[in-house]
């Protein structure tokens, strides 16, 4: 009976109806189509007849699009209609057959196709049958044409997939039990779903030499199925030309052309896009299986982008960090710092409150004692000698509590490190990325002022690169010489060039004013300069001349460096006097390690509240252990003004407490009890100060432009702009404690 039964039972092909009559000629023909897979009903005529009698059932209800696939019609006139398994779908012109199937709710198996990369069409897994086409077509590479009748569930399509799968598995080693991808492997899943139950391959499998791609990506190249996703990712998104395809036929392999490490700050993403276990995470190798892990959807705090991540933990331990899809922020990439900083969460942790004794040694004490000591000292100093500094990883709740506590003590000298001593916190448009990270894709001219997005915010850089690649945007850069992974024009080193552009003497002025959507990005490293107000007013002048801020387009952006910065400025963490730290007697460092610790007077009493034994600890008199971002619920605002929340994935270490709870407890011990006991209460306190910080996952645009700012009279100094970040891999206490990051900076930043 063979295939006749199955054809009849599906009743998807009109011709198959004919086959219901026992036509011996067709019967013989169909023997050639015999699949490897055999089922009992295919063997016995009775059961297949029974199956045939059930044919022509009512069509199943239409399916929902795969993974929430959205269709965006740029031009409604361009909509075309195709039929997927008999259902009409309206899609815009230019979509591929595979995308049309996704909209129709049919998930086509694929290896090489990736929605964010160019189309290669070399794995052939996505073969579907198209009516009037002589052979199955690779749906990922085939544009959908009006009226096309696509069939994804026919025997021809199934047999094609089964055949492709057999070829793919021919040279794929059978090492799933020792493979790190096991359990989350596309090849495993799809061979279960679409593959045959046996192979016909009896020869030797080929083997390929492993490549050294550096300390982050582990390669087992024998497992590679040559989908070239990693090659395309490296050239298109990461912008490094390191990976490539060598050889032909069975000698084909992925490699670096010369022995070279992958020097990209996005290199970890090839681990995610690799559909098999050829590229896996080196630090995670053989540490855990993916089904043992508990995923917690959180956000990243190692830079100001606020990438959406999933923290995978096992018990009290963070095992790995993987990206989460967020089209507006990180698409589906994260930087290597985000992905591999997690081992820093397990090293150099502060786990007990400690007090420095008279001999200069720290001694672990109980919370009662520690808080009592801090409260007593705080009472002994004058209010104006109290200074509080929030660190770059602080959440909004803790910063709110710190500001409230210090205000109750009578001091207003509280700020967040990285914001400089006289930040502009009054106009929100003056410290956030007004265009938005996703908005950068629409820009056609970029002017980068004192910022190196590649190291300061790798994912913002990926967006700029996307604009440069797809829209051929021009990039002008003012600042110290650096390495971008796209073409750019180095305009100058510092304020002189800025002044030239502002006064219209520079050729780049023309480029800006001719541009449709010009974008100016100013680095937050300039906040630390004393002449920051003059610089920002000059940049605003450029923005005004170049018509950068319009009603439909705001191209004036500040690229922040740290996760805490935006929220700190929203909450008004601005020091009262710029010289407060030199005259301080009581300094409260809330995770602040990068402030100038030498400027704190020697007789000052320093309290360090934080999670890592980093720079600040060595100057501290009392250490209060706090929880890290993976252990607490904290609100962070990213550089484009989008408020997001971390979610605790693991318990805190030792005797540590959440940041805001420590400050709340200290306030009570000091007799200045703060009026909130719960996170909800502190959120309502935040709402009165900065309502945008309680609207989770919402991007709150700035209301007023810089036009209402008062004129600045001070002059710019002519010192060139310095690089804000020297070492991409080690910027905060977590990444400085990380061994992997130390390895990276040793191996990859080697000049």
């Amino acid at each position: 009976m063979g295939l006749v039964g199955i054809l009849a039972s599906r009743a998807t092909r009109p011709t198959s109806k004919l086959l219901n009559s026992h036509n011996p000629k067709h019967f013989n023909l169909n023997l050639f189509l015999r699949t490897i897979l055999t089922k009992p009903e295919l063997q016995s005529p009775e059961s297949s007849a029974a199956a045939a009698s059930q044919s022509d059932p009512a069509p199943p209800p239409p399916r929902t699009p795969v993974a929430g696939a959205r269709i965006h019609f740029p031009n409604p006139a361009d909509a075309i209609e195709v039929f997927v398994d008999g259902y009409p779908v309206k899609i815009p012109k230019g979509m591929t057959v595979l995308q049309a199937c996704e909209v129709a709710g049919v998930d086509i198996p694929r290896f090489c196709y990736h929605s964010r990369l160019s189309i290669a069409g070399n794995c052939r897994m996505c073969l579907v049958e198209v009516e009037k086409s002589p052979k199955p077509v690779a749906s990922c590479a085939m544009p959908a044409l009006p009226g096309m009748k696509i069939k994804t569930d026919t025997p021809i399509a199934k047999k094609a997939r089964e055949g492709v799968m057999e070829f793919l598995l021919m040279n794929h080693p059978l090492d799933c039990p020792i493979c790190d991808q096991g359990g989350e492997c596309d090849l495993q899943d799809q061979s279960m779903a679409f593959g045959s139950d046996r192979g016909r391959f009896t020869e030797m499998k080929r083997s390929v030499v492993d490549k050294n791609l550096g300390p982050l990506v582990k390669t087992v190249m024998t497992r590679c199925i040559q989908c070239t996703r990693c090659v395309r990712f490296a050239t298109e998104v990461a912008g490094v030309q390191d990976l490539g395809m060598l050889g032909r036929g069975s000698g084909e392999e992925i490699g670096t052309y010369v022995e070279k490490l992958m020097t990209s700050e996005l290199s970890g993403n090839v681990i995610d896009i690799c559909p098999v276990g050829a590229l896996t995470s080196k630090p995670f190798a053989f540490k855990a299986r993916n089904w043992e892990l508990k995923g917690t959807e959180s956000i990243d705090v190692t830079d100001a982008v606020g990438s959406n991540i999933r923290i995978d933990s096992r018990g009290p331990e963070v095992m790995r960090i993987v990206p989460r899809l967020n089209e507006d922020i990180n698409e589906e990439w994260i930087s290597d710092k985000t992905r591999f900083c997690y081992d820093g969460l397990k090293r150099q942790r502060l786990n007990d409150p400690m007090i420095r004794g008279a001999d200069g040694r720290f001694k672990a004490v109980s919370w009662r004692v520690a808080l009592a000591v801090v409260a007593e000292v705080a009472h002994q100093v004058k209010p104006e000698e109290i200074v509080g500094i929030a660190g770059k990883l602080s959440d909004a709740e803790a910063m709110m509590a710190l500001k409230d506590l210090l205000n109750r003590m009578g001091s207003n000298n509280v700020w967040c490190e990285g914001n400089g001593i006289n930040p502009n916190a009054d106009l929100r448009s003056g410290y956030i990325m007004n265009t938005g990270i996703a908005g950068l894709e629409k820009a056609d001219v970029f002017l980068l002022v004192g910022t190196q997005p590649r190291v300061e915010a790798a994912l913002v850089n990926a967006r700029i690169r996307k604009a440069v690649r797809e829209a051929h945007a021009k990039v002008g850069y003012i600042g110290s010489p650096t390495d971008f992974n796209y073409d750019y024009q180095h305009l100058g080193l510092g304020p002189e060039t800025l002044l030239e552009i502002a006064e219209g003497r520079h050729p780049f002025c023309k480029t800006i004013s001719n541009a449709k959507n010009p974008v100016i990005i100013v680095g937050a490293g300039l906040f630390e300069r004393n002449d920051n107000n003059a610089i920002f007013s000059t940049v605003e002048a450029i923005a005004k001349n170049g018509n950068v801020i319009r009603s439909d387009w705001n191209g004036y952006n500040i690229l922040l460096l740290n996760a805490a910065q935006a929220a700190a400025l929203d909450l008004g963490l601005v020091p009262e006097s710029s010289k407060s730290i030199e005259s301080a007697k009581f300094v409260y460092l809330m995770g602040a390690d990068d402030v100038n610790l030498d400027s704190i007077p020697n007789d000052a009493f320093v309290v360090y509240q934080g999670h890592h034994g980093d720079r600040g600890v060595y100057r501290a008199n009392v250490i209060l252990p706090a929880s890290a971002f993976s252990e607490k619920e904290g609100t962070y605002e990213n550089t484009e003004g989008c408020t997001q929340q971390t979610v605790p994935a693991v318990p805190t270490v030792g005797d540590a407490r959440d940041d805001w709870k420590i400050i709340r407890a200290l306030s009570e011990v000091a007799g200045l009890r703060l009026p909130y006991d719960t996170l909800g209460a502190i959120h309502s306190r935040i709402r009165t100060v900065a309502p945008n910080l309680v609207h989770m996952d919402e991007k709150e645009p700035a209301t007023f432009g810089p036009s209402i700012k008062p004129d600045v009279t001070e002059k710019m100094s002519l010192t060139p702009f310095k690089a804000a970040i020297e070492n991409f891999y080690m910027t905060d206490s977590i990444t400085r404690a990380s061994k992997i990051m130390a390895q990276c900076s040793a191996m990859l930043l080697k000049k």
Partner: protein, 132 residues
């Protein structure tokens, strides 16, 4: 077995409160005498001192100081004796002893005596744990 406690059996009822009271002291003495052995078999030297355990026992007894019914006291004494016997016979493990008598039910036992009046619930919880 250098030392064995008398076996646990139901003693005749105390005739009066005075007799019950003296039995309580007998029990306390028996418990205190067994402490060196408890320290040894549970290897408690690095976490507790004998005086610490002794005050824990005294605290446990004082918790019931308001009871005046000799029958109830007899019953509590029986339970105490049973517990003591279990401990001395090594029927427990080290972490049982540490959990029940060194650290106590609510934080460190020694902290129970300190003045927590006027402290908010938040602060009380804060001293115990991060999760409340």
């Amino acid at each position: 077995m250098a030392f064995t406690l008398r076996s646990v059996k139901v003693a005749p009822n105390s005739a009066s409160l005075e007799e019950a009271r003296s039995r309580v002291f007998d029990f306390f003495r028996a418990a205190c005498r067994s402490l060196p052995k408890v320290m040894e078999i549970y290897n408690l030297d690095d976490v507790a001192k004998i005086s610490h355990l002794r005050s824990t026992i005294a605290n446990e007894i004082r918790k019931n100081s308001h009871i005046t019914n000799p029958k109830v006291i007899d019953m509590l004494l029986f339970k105490g004796m049973e517990e003591l016997n279990n401990i001395v016979e090594h029927a427990k493990q080290r972490h049982h002893i540490i959990g029940q008598y060194v650290v106590g039910q609510r934080g460190l036992v020694q902290d129970l005596g300190t003045k927590d009046q006027g402290m908010s619930n938040f602060l009380k919880n804060f001293y115990n744990t991060n999760y409340f």
